[in-house]
Symmetry: C4
Subunit: 318 residues, 4 copies
Amino acid sequence: MLKIPFTKKKINNNNEFNDLGFGTQVAQQRSINSNGSFNVKKKGLSYFRLDDLYTNLITMKWSYFIILVLAFYTFINIVFAGIYLTIGIEHLKGVTGTTSRDHFFDAFFFSAQTISTVGYGHISPEGFYTSLVAALESLMGVIVFAVITGLLYGRFSAPKAKILYSDNAIISPYKDGKALMFRIANIRSNQLIEVEVEVIIGVNINENDKIVRRFYSLELERKKVSFFPLSWTIVHPITEASPIVNFNNTDMADAELEIMILIKAFDDTYSQIVHSRKSYFYDEILWDKKFISIIKQDENGKSILELNNINLMESSPL
Amino acid sequence: MLKIPFTKKKINNNNEFNDLGFGTQVAQQRSINSNGSFNVKKKGLSYFRLDDLYTNLITMKWSYFIILVLAFYTFINIVFAGIYLTIGIEHLKGVTGTTSRDHFFDAFFFSAQTISTVGYGHISPEGFYTSLVAALESLMGVIVFAVITGLLYGRFSAPKAKILYSDNAIISPYKDGKALMFRIANIRSNQLIEVEVEVIIGVNINENDKIVRRFYSLELERKKVSFFPLSWTIVHPITEASPIVNFNNTDMADAELEIMILIKAFDDTYSQIVHSRKSYFYDEILWDKKFISIIKQDENGKSILELNNINLMESSPL
Amino acid sequence: MLKIPFTKKKINNNNEFNDLGFGTQVAQQRSINSNGSFNVKKKGLSYFRLDDLYTNLITMKWSYFIILVLAFYTFINIVFAGIYLTIGIEHLKGVTGTTSRDHFFDAFFFSAQTISTVGYGHISPEGFYTSLVAALESLMGVIVFAVITGLLYGRFSAPKAKILYSDNAIISPYKDGKALMFRIANIRSNQLIEVEVEVIIGVNINENDKIVRRFYSLELERKKVSFFPLSWTIVHPITEASPIVNFNNTDMADAELEIMILIKAFDDTYSQIVHSRKSYFYDEILWDKKFISIIKQDENGKSILELNNINLMESSPL
Amino acid sequence: MLKIPFTKKKINNNNEFNDLGFGTQVAQQRSINSNGSFNVKKKGLSYFRLDDLYTNLITMKWSYFIILVLAFYTFINIVFAGIYLTIGIEHLKGVTGTTSRDHFFDAFFFSAQTISTVGYGHISPEGFYTSLVAALESLMGVIVFAVITGLLYGRFSAPKAKILYSDNAIISPYKDGKALMFRIANIRSNQLIEVEVEVIIGVNINENDKIVRRFYSLELERKKVSFFPLSWTIVHPITEASPIVNFNNTDMADAELEIMILIKAFDDTYSQIVHSRKSYFYDEILWDKKFISIIKQDENGKSILELNNINLMESSPL
């Protein structure tokens, strides 16, 4: 039986956090994955949607993207090679091969030279149909590579806040009591300014003998910083007003406590608002720990931010 | 005679919704089409405006866009073929055709090879004028395909909130009374966050024996969600304070009631604010219905959103 | 002597409008031109600034832009033709001309074929230096046309609110008194939503026997509309609280009254906030006029907005 | 011993400025460099990060960018020349050179003609492997130049507020007392509107016998202007409420006073919010000075902004 410290009345006051789009149904998994994506599967999306295709091509890994481009290039050249062979290899002037394998590769490489618009011309189209197909292929080449230009620009320029989070949230001594903390830093070279953070917890609670999932906002010592050149330790002081004031380690597991974090910032390099999400599940919360500062000064007094030490902490019993 | 439940005083209080840009004139058609576009025709726009041309090229269907590109490519090559023929086919070195039909196609395909910059070179320009036209055509080719690159990027990257709405708004039992509801889900793979919704109704009312169109905002159970990974049922409780508290099905038809919906969200993938509009006309409102949940859990407890069931409802007499 | 109806105290209350970035110095010209640009000249800007170059290339007229591209293409080809001739025309294999004029054009067109990457190959570079220059020129071609691609995309996609304003502001009868009005409509096919308007006047006033320029905000009947599918007449009721309550036609001329308008809207097609500025000088204000509605309905009851009639008004003595 | 005029209570009231992301640790250097960048070094960033690579390529100087492109072009052609030579120079049809140096350059220029897709064709690939490498190289060329297109567009279009600041902040006579002032102007041809400014000071103060760094916001005579066509002198009146009311020149040095400025504006040309940062260290503050107006009028009464005179001031003892 959970010792959830809310009165019915308190829940009403915090009404706006009762449903954040997750519903009240108790799931057996976390709502937000550790990397910030939502742990939800959509069914009924058609498999090939152009909008989503673009989004996927923009957000997929570079290695996949390159393999896809190579595969597409190979595939399209095979298709056009087939068309040129069907019309007749004799319409490709300058072809020297004699076997049908040679002919295929001649047509294949002619296609590659056409679609990339390199067009050396040692092989050239002759006759109406071959010329027409070549004309369409070079148009297609220009369009395909226009698409690739757009995709590459989209991939590079899509604003992304790359916030580095400490691997764990910790419960630390804080003033006369304790606090829930985690630490963040900006690992990109862009400047982030006006950084705001919102922390929400999801817990299973017993409401009228029914287990439901409820969501509460956590009060923070500081919600916003104007600059973010260094690291920032976000602190929720566990005072009497805190929804988790009576929780110990076991209570958190029982309630399947999930700490969900939204960070909103202005990316000064790209002049766009960026967001970052993160979630700590109950088993990623460490007790009796304290962060060690990762800001040092070099011999000239210049501040150094040691990003590799973001998880550096020491034991600090409450 | 309509039983519009507003007092004069109430209207004044809701003053800011009396005119939303639609005026007070009673139209015989809905203000916003079902797909969210405005049901208004503009007269006096010049037929060819470059700004609107771009907007149209960005927003037209893919099939039309591709046909347009092919038509343009064909047209421009015909024009340049004409120019080359006018200057003289003998200035195209390497031409082998003998009939004037052959000559036209030689010039046509040379033009295609020039504008796409593939330039095989088995046909090449000779003499000042042909070289000059070819130089201008290749410049034009580069520019035209720069435009296509821009258009394709514009088409792909234009942020669009693709909100899936239930086909009908419904009047459902809600707590001790009833409520007007409709359901939405995000059908794209982009994440939408900070989703806000505004619902406004337009009704014809009898004001000093003159029928005028008035607009009122509807109070919602929840106006905003922080996350939107699942579906969201938007609920307007029909309490005594609701402008439509005394309406039955016939009253809605008499008043030509239109429910207009504005959704505003932050697209987390493209870091841009997106909007979606929707309208339900009085004949798209169903009574005595209730939505059935479209969120399921798979064997591992992961939430599944079944988009195909967005309209799933059951009978539920008030 | 002006009958400016402000007390010292009132000015203090409206303090935030005393200086809008124009200062208090009395100018002999309007602050904002009729088309919305600021009537200010900057001295000391370096003549060639890359940032401004881009802005200028994006915002210049299409006809100038095209002339500039053609001029640049001609110029760069003349420069490279000169380089090829300097190295020696004999290094351009395939050249057939015999006079130096022929040689120049051979080099010129070879350059054009290289920079546009069309590269027919009937003329080709031979020898180290010519090959090197051609390699650099083709690189330059690719880069130059990348720039053109960016410029064209920038030109097309730059969000622009094209608000159509009535040519004149008018003083109309309004309720029991009079009001200052002007009318706007959206002439683009993009949808504008959440349109906000701010109206500020600039007047010369006598302050401690010194003529200074002061700026005041005008109260509007409606500051914002959610939708903007039709036209919108913006109304400043000239009540006792209005700064211009005691002004007649002559007073406006004496005070060199300027009405400055800022419109802010969300462009729903491009998902960006757009602004529009406009100014009416005292001699663009008509008295005793009334706008005639430009919204009609076609035979099916669909609303028609007649943009050409934006200035349609009739006499209406106060 | 510093005469910091804050009471403990006052600091609490200004609580939100006690930590702006810089921490309370006393550094021996300024927090923000004179050009607005943060004076912080990050350690632990991996040396090659694609995100940062893009950001760096977008923000690096033009001269470096051009050198980088040339170096990359040379390098990639050397690599491909090596590959073609390894496969065998005899597979490049049309090669005329006889020495291995000639062969290298033939392969090098063939590579350049392939990657730029100019493809004259006087040298053309023969045989499977050479054709394959050429096909891949032309694909790579198209992609590389797509990247360059994106980079150039990114470089040009990245919104940048280019605010010109006076080189020094000054302490001037102001009304009956004195004020801290600095002057700004917009040196770009874009229009900035809705310009907001925030001024924060960082000082070392003695708190419980420990020197810590504290940050305070300064009250401004005006925080925002709607238009910014001219120059703007930002004024902090040094009243009793000011944190620096008791500071003289020496106190500022002792406290290592740093004035940090954030400017936020809407760029009307690109429809984006832009920021600018600036910092004045204590040794950049001049006492007993007064700015001279840089706004003149030409013979027609048009306002002229003389940007070169931004630092123009005269002696003005308090």
